[in-house]
Structure formats: C-alpha cells, structure tokens
Symmetry: C2
Subunit: 366 residues, 2 copies
C-alpha cells in the first residue's frame, strides 16, 4: 500500500542549468559563470539569469559541480570524542570559519577508536573532501599519508605536528601542567597527586612533565608527586580519590586530567569528610561548564577551544586555497581559572585580599 499522498508531488523536481539558461536566453556556460565567477558576467545578463534561477527555484547539484570542477567544497573534521565539550567547542569554531568561506564540514566522531577513525577517513576520501582536520587516535596513520599523497590537505588538531610537512594547532600542555603546579605551590601545597588517563596519551604526559617542572622550580623533588592512572570518568575519579585517602594520606593537592574526573575526586573527598580546599586542593582541566556547578566549584585549566577550532580551519583553508601556503604549528596557551577548590571560599573579602598567583587569570566564579 503506497503512501496516501494524494496529489502528485510538485513538478519542479529537478531544474537544471540548461533550463535556467533557456529561460534566461543564455548559454549554460553563462549560467555557470554567474554561479562561479559572477564578476565576469555583465550586470544585465547576470540579473536575467538570477531571475530565471529564482523563478524556476533552481538548486545547483553539488555532486555534479564537484565532479565537473574536480574539487570539493567540503572539509572533514574527525574528533576524538564529541561527548567532550572541548571538541564540541572546537567543532563550533571550525564550522563558523568553514561555512563563512562557503565550505561544508563533515563531522565524524572517532570515539578514540582506530577503527572508527579509519572508517571516517575512508568516507571522507570517497567524498573527495579537499581537506581534513584530524585529532588523531594514534601517532601516525598510514591512511593520512595516503590521503596527503592524493592531494588532500590534512591539519592536525590538538596534537603538535611533525617538525615540518604539516600544519597543526594544539595547546601547550606542558605549560598547562606547569601553571597548575605553580598555582598549587604558590598557595602553599607541597605534596601533589596527578590523576590522569592512558599512559600513551601525549596530553597527559606533557602535563605531567609540566607539573614536575613546577615542583623542581620550587626546589621540590619527584617524590612530592604521586601519579595515578585512571579511567577518565566520574567513577574513575572517585576511585582515585579513595586511593589517595587510603594510600597517600599526605597528599594536599590533586591535579586532574579533566573536570569530570575531578568531580569524581571531589565527591570521594567530601564523602570522606575531607575538606576542599582546606585539607586537599583540587585542580581540574578543560574548564567545562560543569566545573563551576559542582559542590566546591573547581579551579580548572581553560583552553581556547573555539579559537583553536577557528585557527585550525583557517590554516586548512589557507593550505587548500593558497599555493604559497607555508606550514605552521600554532600552539595556544592554557590559562588557569581559580575557583574555590584551590583558593578558599569565594567570599567577597577573601577575593579582595589578593590574587592567588602572579600572571594567572583569576575569573569570577559564578
């Protein structure tokens, strides 16, 4: 039984360039020109063509355009975890830049799986996108090199590129770890824990290095840092918090790999009646909206996510469109947002009594 749609669907099923050309009394080439190089066609002709397009409700077929032109007005964006507000903001930045340059962005979530990443890249390859923005699961993917060899531009996201041969935009994680460490040391902490994810993840390795560097800078040695590897989730954080209380009772400050895990740590501490920040200070990472909403609002490292997205998209478009393009590695600086979890209750007088750390931005905390 077919759909009872009643009348026949409107007849304007497929209006082609040819029909527009006929109605406007010009050639197909001219119609194509008003679409692609409007400045090349006479004003009168142009308006005639435009009117015909309007009247016929003409919608160019992008598959045909792409096939004929040999290039695609699309770029791909493959992110590690769309669930993470970080990448969502990055995606917004990418989208804004791309769409105002007339590009469509095709978004994929690799969800940290090499397999999904491969499939995503394959689809983008079949789509013949002119470029892709990739926050890669692993260090080097053959597929990426393959695509580059085929002429597809690839810009790395959230990962510093090789010394040469590619663009990348990332944020300096060593600096981030160091700022977190210095902040805690400056506020009197002496025995830190770092709760982090996967051992092979560059981000966490860099931040750990940054923390160690801060400790050394303050004359503290490596024994003043304990490192816990946990799943990056609330329950991972709770587990870490419990372990710290049980096994490392002298720890007086915890840096976390992200805000979600920090929320878990905080939960475990509060449940055990440990005071935050009085007994243990807490610093998260990413400064997601959640950070300011949990029981003790979280000090966190903020990254210019939206700007990173914009910047990456600009780099990619430049590489696609400018034959004089030279590769660049853009590295953004994170900044610490101090809240109650590390600097005491945000009572008005307390805030007035001086900043926590020197060059560090202290944002108001909701």
């Amino acid at each position: 039984m077919a759909m009872s749609q009643g009348e026949s669907p409107s007849p304007q099923l497929k209006v082609t360039v040819l029909e527009v050309a006929r109605l406007a009394g010009v050639s197909m080439a001219t119609v194509s020109n008003v679409l692609n190089r409007p400045n090349v066609v006479a004003a009168a002709t142009k308006s005639r063509v435009l009117a015909a397009m309007q009247q016929l409700n003409f919608v160019p077929n992008s598959a045909a355009r792409q096939l004929a032109a040999g290039r695609s007005r699309a770029i791909g964006l493959v992110v590690l975890d769309l669930t993470n507000p970080f990448f969502l903001e990055v995606a917004r930045g990418v989208e804004d830049v791309a769409s105002s340059a007339g590009y469509v962005v095709i978004l994929f979530n690799s969800a940290d799986s090499r397999d999904r990443e491969t499939r995503s890249l394959s689809v983008l390859r079949e789509q013949r996108v002119s470029g892709v923005l990739l926050s890669p699961v692993a260090a080097r993917t053959e597929l990426v090199e393959q695509m580059r060899a085929e002429g597809t531009r690839v810009v790395l996201l959230d990962r510093r590129g090789a010394a040469t041969g590619e663009c990348s935009v990332s944020v300096d994680d060593v600096l981030g770890g160091q700022a977190a460490g210095e902040h805690l040391i400056a506020t009197g902490r002496r025995s830190l824990a770092f709760v982090r994810g996967g051992r092979h993840v560059r981000q966490y390795n860099d931040r750990e290095r940054g923390i160690r560097s801060a400790l050394r800078g303050a004359g503290l040695d490596d024994r003043s840092l304990v490192v816990l590897h946990e799943e990056m989730s609330v329950s991972g954080g709770e587990h870490a918090g419990e372990r710290i209380l049980r096994e490392f009772a002298n720890v007086d400050a915890v840096v976390c790999g992200n805000d979600t895990i920090a929320a878990g740590v905080e939960r475990a501490l509060l449940k055990a009646a440990v005071r935050v920040p009085d007994d243990v200070a807490l610093v998260g990472y990413d400064d997601v909206p959640l950070a300011k909403l949990i029981t003790v609002p979280l000090t966190s490292m903020q990254q210019p996510m939206y700007e990173m997205g914009r910047s990456a998209a600009q780099l990619l478009l430049d590489e696609i469109e400018d034959s004089d393009h030279v590769h660049k590695r853009v590295s953004f600086n994170p900044s610490l947002v101090a809240r109650s979890s590390s600097v005491g209750r945000p009572a008005k007088p307390a805030r007035r009594s001086g900043g926590a750390a020197k060059a560090i931005a202290t944002h108001a905390n909701g």
Copy 2:
C-alpha cells in the same frame, strides 16, 4: 615559495573504474556491479576485480556515483542545539544506525536560529541528500515542504508530526510533566513552581499541562502552581530561585525545564540557606551527567535519547528505501530518576524504606 615536499607525491592520484576494469580484464559495468550488486557477478570475476581494486588502491568517487545513480547515500541531521547532551545522544543513535546501513550523516546545528536552520537545509538540498532528520526551530517551514515536494524524505525529531503525511519521533512531554508532578505530590508537596523557557515552545507547554493534570488528579487547583519563564541557563535558574524565595515563599517544590536551569535554582536556594529537599524539593529534566554531580544530586526526567536517535534514523531509512512505507509517529515515554533533591539523602536505610512513587523507576544515584 612552494611547499618543500621533496619528492613528487605518489602517482596513484586518481584511479578510476576504467583502470580497474582494464587490469581485471572486464568492462566498467562489471566493476560497477561488484560495487553495487556483488551477488550478480560470478565469484571468479568478482575476486579478480577485487584484487585489481586492491592493487590500484581504488577509492570510488562518491560524487560521481551519486550523479550517475541519481540518489545519494547521505542523510542530513539538523538539531536545535548540539551543546545540549540530549541532541548529542540523539546524534549518536542516528549515526550508528545510518552508518551501519551504509549512509553518511551530515550534521548541522541550527542553534535555535531559523536563519541557520534555513542555511543548513539549503546545503542539504544542494547535496541532494535522500533524507533529513529535523528538530525544527518553528512549527512549519516552507523549505521543508519544498524539499518534500522534491522527493527528499523528512522525519521530525523531538516534535510530534502532523496527524498524517510525515513520520516523527518525540517523547511524551505531557506524561513527563505529569510524572514529575505526581512524584512531588506523592512525597507530600502541595505548592509547586515550574521554571520553564519560551512561551511558544511546545515541550514546555506540554509539560506544564502534565503538571496541572497531576495537580488536578490530586484534588489541587491551579493556584497550587506558579509558572516562571526564564532563560534556560544556570543564571536563569538562579534568578528564578531568588524570585521564588522572594515572591512565592510558600512553594515547596520546583520543577525545571532542564537540568542546567535546575542547577541554578538549587544554587540560589542553597545560597539562601534553604534546605533541599527538606524545605524545597527540586526536579530537573533530561537527566544529563551533570544532574548527579551537583551539590544535592538532582531528581530528573530521563529521556531515551540514544534510542530516539536510532528510531528516527530507522524510520527515515525505511521511508527512503521501502516503497511500502507508511508514516508513523513514535512517542517515547520519559521516566523519573529519583535522587536526593526530591527524596531525601540517599542513605542506605532511606532507600530501603520504600519507593517514592508507584510505577516510577528509581535509579541508583552515584
């Protein structure tokens, strides 16, 4: 100055069906057949063609396929707010179903702007997607009817469709409001507030009706409900909380339009030393991860987001591929997840002493 790429990029720039055909010693039609109707070609031929594809590293050009075949293996998904975990989960469900059926999903965020919605739909139209999943900004869009007339299938998301003529998947908001109301009444509340967004948004209107219906069912009249219209943000919630304390001191329970605004309300209450839930009970909506992480974990209405996405994608694919398709309106039921904000501290004994409301699911709370 050109890029110092060194060697010439690999030569396998563009391998076409023709070359595969030559290497395999068959016609282009046969190559096309192993791609599109593998069961129609002899096993020996097929493996010869497959081998040739492998050897040449052949990647079909989807623009060409689409143009020649006259149909696209892509669907569009336009959501109201990608920042909202609700739509992110829906998108996951859509993506999973679509990609395992061999479709690419092109995702757009209309960000609640008619203008952005229009632009997104226009791009999808130029892409000649075979279908789109849309959570519409406004009630009826001409563009949508236009696209339908052109043969594009459209399934409505998070909005109940017209009585006939289209598929839709939504969640029953009247039921949701009612369940929230009944839960609060069952736990002894008698004077409710509903903090909601835009007056024209169907979701909030439905939920308000549900709450009123619950009140009536308990013999309470409309004066037992005050309704506040606020911006759907943390600060909107704080504002609402302050107003309630100032202007409606007798309110003993608040239902919120989403969890974020509920977090704001809770914040305002706690700041004023009002106890939650002892003095005022609180119910959020959506059950986002945040809900269980704020100071007093939030009772919230959970919606089967991922399942909604899957279901919507299935409906759309069915409409695209099955000529016997009949339109359906799928309506999911929300379920209440009870946490401390409405049922007292989650101490073990308390939980054991009986459920809060009859048929309502009471999930463990982190």
